[in-house]
C-alpha cells in the first residue's frame, strides 16, 4: 500500500488531497500509467509530465524512481514559495 498525496491544481483535477492505493507499479512512471488508466480525472492531472514534480517519501525524485519499500508519493506542480 502506498499513500498518494496531491497538491495545488493536481489535487483539484483529481478531486482529492490523498488516497491509499494498492499497486504493483515498480516505478513512479508505472504508477502514473496505472492511475491514468483508472479514470479521466487522472488522465487530466497527468497529461503533461513536464508540468509535474514528484516527491518520494518527502524527497524530490525523478519519474524513474523505484517504488520498492516506498510509503508515500506526492504529485504537484513546480513549487512557488517565497
Amino acid at each position: 500500500m502506498i499513500d498518494l498525496l496531491y497538491f495545488a491544481w493536481v489535487r483539484e483535477r483529481i478531486g482529492l488531497p490523498r488516497e491509499r492505493v494498492e499497486t504493483r507499479a515498480e516505478t513512479v512512471m508505472d504508477l502514473i500509467e496505472e492511475l491514468k488508466a483508472r479514470e479521466d480525472r487522472y488522465q487530466a492531472a497527468f497529461a503533461d509530465l513536464r508540468a509535474l514534480r514528484v516527491a518520494v517519501d518527502q524527497e524530490l525524485a525523478d519519474f524513474t524512481a523505484p517504488l520498492s519499500g516506498v510509503r508515500e508519493v506526492a504529485f504537484f506542480p513546480p513549487m512557488t514559495g517565497g
Binding site: 497538491f7 491544481w9 516527491a55 524530490l60 506542480p77 513546480p78 513549487m79 512557488t80 514559495g81 517565497g82
Partner: protein
C-alpha cells in the same frame, strides 16, 4: 549555528522577529533580513492562498538552511514561511542570516531565497476580480539556482 525554521498560518511581527534574531546571533557582526509581502497587483488581487506539504516543507527548508550553513560561516539562520489565506500587503515569509561579515550574510540570504522559491513545497493561488489562478513557476526562478 542557531537554526530556526518555522512554517505557520499565523501572522508574524517582522520587527519583533528581527530584533529577537539580532539578539541571539552569537557575536556576529552582520545581520541580513528579507521580508516577502503579498503583492496587490494594482488592486486586482483580493487574497492569496498558500498550500504546502506538511512534513516535507519543514525538512526541505531545514536542508536548504543546512546547505547555506555549509557554504557560509553563519552563526544563525531563520526561515519563517506562512501558509493559508493571506491578504495583499501581508507578510508571507522572511529569512534572516547572521555572520561575522556582511558579504556572507547577504549571499546566504539570497541563496536561501533562491532555493526556497523553487525547492520548498509551497504553492500559491491568487484570488481576484477575474477569478482564481495558481501562480506558475517562473523559468528565471529555476535559472537563479544555477548561479550557486
Amino acid at each position: 549555528m542557531v537554526r530556526d525554521i518555522r512554517v505557520q498560518a499565523e501572522p508574524f511581527d517582522y520587527g519583533a522577529e528581527c530584533a529577537a534574531f539580532a539578539a541571539r546571533t552569537e557575536g556576529a557582526g552582520a545581520v541580513v533580513t528579507f521580508l516577502g509581502l503579498v503583492r496587490d497587483d494594482g488592486g486586482r488581487l483580493t487574497r492569496m492562498e498558500i498550500e504546502h506539504y506538511p512534513g516535507m516543507t519543514e525538512s526541505a527548508l531545514d536542508k536548504i538552511a543546512g546547505e547555506a550553513a555549509g557554504r557560509w560561516p553563519l552563526s544563525a539562520c531563520l526561515v519563517l514561511h506562512r501558509h493559508g489565506s493571506l491578504r495583499p500587503g501581508e507578510p508571507i515569509m522572511m529569512v534572516a542570516t547572521a555572520s561575522r561579515h556582511r558579504q556572507a550574510a547577504f549571499e546566504a540570504a539570497e541563496f536561501l531565497m533562491d532555493y526556497l522559491k523553487s525547492r520548498a513545497p509551497f504553492w500559491k493561488k491568487e484570488y481576484g476580480a477575474d477569478g482564481a489562478a495558481w501562480v506558475a513557476a517562473k523559468d528565471e526562478d529555476e535559472a537563479a539556482l544555477t548561479r550557486w
